[in-house]
C-alpha cells in the first residue's frame, strides 16, 4: 500500500512536470515570405529579435521562397491544408485570393489586439480591405521614386537640391541635362530614359492618376483608361522621346538603371527598392525624391506588402492571435525594414525623426500619403495587361497613344467579360 502511494506521488510529479513544459512550449508559427534579396536578411533579423523577446511564448519560423512561383505555392498549400500561419502578399494580388475564399477575414482579431487604422498610412490600411472586410495588414509601401544625379545637375548649372516638381520644370531640367559630351554629334548623356518595358507602366499609371483618370468603372465591367487622362499621360511619355528629345528611343529594360549607376543619366524613375543598389554604387552622388506632379493632382504608383493569414481547416484562435501579435510587433519595429528600401506602413515609424531626417528616405516618405491603389479585383492584373503592351507600342511609335489605348480597352473589356 505504501509502495502504491509512492507510485501515485511519482505520477503526480510527472504530470506536474509535463503540464509545466506544456505551459512553456511556445506556439510555433510558420511564416512565408518572398524576400530573397537583402531585405530577406533584414526580415530574418527582425524575426530573430521577435523570437528573442517572445521566448517561450511565440516562435516564428520564416521560410523564404522566390516570388516567381510563390502564389502558386500558396494555392497548392491551401488546397492540401499545408498553408503557413501567415504570409506576405502584394496588395494588388489580394482580391484574387480573397475572392476565392482562401484568406481569413481579420476584423474581429484586429480590433481585439488593438490595431487601429489611424496608426497606419491611410491608403495602405485601406488596401487591406476587400468588399468591406479586412483581410490584410500592411507592412510597407514601395512607390515609384525619382532619382537624380547631383553631380550632373551641378555640371549643367542646376541646383542639385532642387529637383523638378512638375512637367514644365522636368522638361526644362532634362533638356539642360541632355548633351553631347565628347562632341561627336551623338548625345551621350540623357536627361532621362524611358524604357520599353518595365517599369514604363508605372510611369503611365502615375501620370494617369495625376490626371484624375479612373481605370475601370464601378463594377469592374468596363475599362475606362482610354480616356483623355490616359491618352494625355501616354502622349506625354511619347513626347519626352520624340518631341522634347530628352530620352532616347528603344531603351532596353534595365538600361536606364545601369546608365544611372554608371553616372551617365540625369534623372531616372524606378522603385524605392533600387535605393540600396544606388547607395552601394561607389562615386554615385544622387538624390531621391517624390515623382514630379505632372498632372493636376498628387498620385504615385506604389506596391505594398501586406500580411495575410491563409485559411486553415481547423481554426485555432491562439495561433491566429499569436500571428497578429507578430504583425503588430513588426509594425512598431519596422524602421530597419524601411531603410531596406520600403516606406514603413506604420505612421509612428514613417514619421519618426530617424526616418524623416534621412537624406534619402526622408524626402520620399510623404508619398505614403498619396500612393494610389485602385479598387483591386480578382482580374485586375490580367485586365491591366493590355495597357503594358499599349505603352510599349506607343513608345515605339507603332501606334498613336489613342489607337494603342483604344485597342487595349477592347482587350480589357474582353477579359472583364470572360469568366
Amino acid at each position: 500500500m505504501k509502495r502504491f502511494r509512492y507510485v501515485l506521488l511519482g505520477l503526480l510529479l510527472v504530470c506536474c512536470f509535463f503540464s509545466l513544459t506544456l505551459e512553456a512550449a511556445p506556439i510555433k508559427l510558420e511564416y512565408w515570405t518572398i524576400f530573397t534579396g537583402p531585405n530577406g536578411q533584414t526580415m530574418q533579423r527582425l524575426v530573430d529579435r521577435f523570437n528573442q523577446e517572445y521566448k517561450g511564448k511565440i516562435e516564428v519560423q520564416m521560410s523564404v521562397m522566390p516570388a516567381g512561383n510563390f502564389y502558386e505555392k500558396i494555392i497548392s498549400a491551401v488546397v492540401s491544408n499545408q498553408a503557413p500561419d501567415f504570409c506576405i502578399m502584394h496588395v494588388d494580388r489580394l482580391a484574387e485570393f480573397t475572392s476565392r475564399g482562401i484568406l481569413l477575414p481579420l476584423d474581429e482579431y484586429v480590433e481585439a489586439l488593438g490595431l487601429k487604422g489611424s496608426d497606419y498610412a491611410e491608403p495602405l490600411w485601406n488596401g487591406g480591405i476587400w468588399q468591406g472586410k479586412r483581410y490584410a495588414i500592411p507592412l510597407d509601401t514601395h512607390p515609384l521614386v525619382m532619382y537624380w544625379n547631383k553631380k550632373l545637375f551641378r555640371e549643367a548649372g542646376l541646383d542639385p537640391e532642387k529637383p523638378p516638381t512638375d512637367a514644365e520644370s522636368f522638361i526644362k531640367v532634362c533638356k539642360a541635362l541632355t548633351k553631347d559630351k565628347n562632341g561627336d554629334g551623338k548625345i551621350d548623356q540623357w536627361g532621362t530614359m524611358l524604357s520599353v518595358g518595365w517599369p514604363n507602366f508605372q510611369y503611365w499609371y502615375t501620370i494617369f492618376h495625376q490626371n484624375g483618370g479612373t481605370l475601370f468603372n464601378a463594377d469592374n465591367s468596363q475599362a475606362l483608361f482610354n480616356s483623355k487622362a490616359g491618352v494625355d499621360a501616354l502622349q506625354f511619355l511619347v513626347d519626352c522621346i520624340y518631341v522634347h528629345k530628352i530620352s532616347p528611343d528603344n531603351v532596353q529594360v534595365d538600361s536606364e538603371h545601369e546608365a544611372f549607376k554608371r553616372g551617365e543619366l540625369g534623372i531616372t524613375f524606378n522603385g524605392i527598392w533600387m535605393m540600396a543598389d544606388y547607395l552601394n554604387q561607389p562615386n554615385l552622388e544622387f538624390g531621391a525624391g517624390p515623382v514630379p506632379q505632372f498632372g493636376s493632382q498628387k498620385a504615385v504608383w506604389g506596391g505594398s506588402h501586406q500580411f495575410v493569414l491563409p485559411k486553415q481547416r481547423r481554426v485555432d484562435r491562439n495561433r491566429i492571435n499569436a500571428a497578429i501579435e507578430f504583425i503588430k510587433w513588426f509594425g512598431d519595429h519596422s524602421l530597419d525594414w524601411g531603410f531596406g528600401g520600403q516606406l514603413p506602413a506604420k505612421l509612428s515609424v514613417l514619421n519618426s525623426p530617424e526616418f524623416r531626417q534621412d537624406p534619402y528616405f526622408g524626402r520620399i516618405a510623404e508619398m505614403a500619403d498619396y500612393v494610389y491603389f485602385p479598387p483591386f479585383f480578382a482580374k485586375y492584373g490580367e485586365a491591366v495587361g493590355p495597357i503594358w503592351d499599349a505603352v510599349n507600342a506607343a513608345l515605339l511609335r507603332k501606334s498613336t497613344p489613342k489607337e494603342a489605348l483604344d485597342r487595349a480597352k477592347d482587350l480589357s473589356n474582353k477579359i472583364l467579360a470572360g469568366n
Binding site: 512561383n69 502558386e72 494555392i75 491551401v78 488546397v79 476565392r100 475564399g101 482562401i102 520599353v196 518595358g197 518595365w198 532616347p248 528611343d249 528603344n250 531603351v251 532596353q252 529594360v253 538600361s255 545601369e258 546608365a259 482580374k379 492584373g381 490580367e382 503592351d389 499599349a390 510599349n392 507600342a393 515605339l396 507603332k398 482587350l411 474582353k414 477579359i415 467579360a417 470572360g418
Partner: protein, 318 residues
Amino acid sequence: MTREGEEVATLVMKEKPKGRFRRWFGSNGLLRPYFYLLPHAVFFFMFLVYPIFKGFYISLTEWDIFANSGRFIGLGNYRLLFDPAAIQNVYFWQALRNTLIFVVISVPLLVLVALGLALLLTSRLSGRSVFRTIFFMPTALTVSVVAVIWRWLLNVDHGFVNFLLEKVGIKGVPWLTSQPWAWISITIATVWWTVGWNMILLINGINGVPEEIYEASKIDGANAWQRLLYITLPCLRPVLLFVCITTVIASFNLFGQPQLMTGGGPARSTLPVMMQIYTEAWANYRMGPAGAMSYLTALIMIVFTVFQSKLFAQRADD
C-alpha cells in the same frame, strides 16, 4: 527479342520442368524482360500517360484549381479559342502565329547550319575535334545562362555587338526592343545554343555512310558537289528526318529564350504559344482553356510531324 526470349524459356522448360512459378517468375521466366521494363513503365505512366489523359479531361471542364475539381463542359473551352469575343481567341492565335514565325525561321537555320558544320567537321580539317567540342559546348548550358549572355551582348546602349557595329560606323541596332530585330536576336541565340546537338547527330550520320560508295563514285568521276548531292544527302535521309522532326518540336516548344530575353515583347510580338498557355494556367488560373490551348497546339504539331514524314517518304519514292 520477345520471340527469342520465349524460345529460350521453352528450352529451359524442356530441360527442367520445375513448375509454374519458375516458368513465370524464375531467373529465365517469361516475365523477366518485363521486370526490367517495370521501373521505366511506372514513371512513364505516372508522369506521361496519366497527365496526358488527365490534361485532356481538364480541357473539357471548367476546372477550379482551388477546389481541384471541375464541371464538365464538353468542348466549351475549345469553342472559346474560336470565339472572337473571347480574350483567349485573341491571345492564343497571336501567340501561335508568333510560334509559327519562329518555327519557320529557326528550323531551316538549325538544320542547314548544323549540316554545314557537320560537313566541315567531317572533312579533312585540322583541329576537328576541338571545333566539334566548341560548337557542341553551348548545348550544355541552361536557357537562363544563354539568355543572360545574349542580353548582355545585344544590349542596345552598351552591348558588345553594338559596340563593334559603332566602331565600324553602323548605328546601334535595337536588338531586343523592336521588330524584326527581336526575332533575329532570339533566333541567333537559339541557333548558337542548340545547333551543336543537330550537328553531332549529323556527324554520326555522315560517318555512317560506307566509304566504298564514295570510292566507287570517285572512280566514276563524281566531283565533291555531286558526291554530296547524290551520296551523302540521300544516305543521311533517315537522320535528317529525325533531326527535322525533333527540331520542329523543339521550336514549337519555344519558351525560355523570349521569356528571358524580350519578355514576349515588344508588344507581345515574341510571346510564344507555350508562354501563353502557361500564363493562362498559372497567372489567370484558367486550367480549362489552358488545357484546350495545349491540345490544339499538340494537334498542330502532330500534323506538322506527319506532313514532314510524308514529305521525306515521298522523296524516297522518286
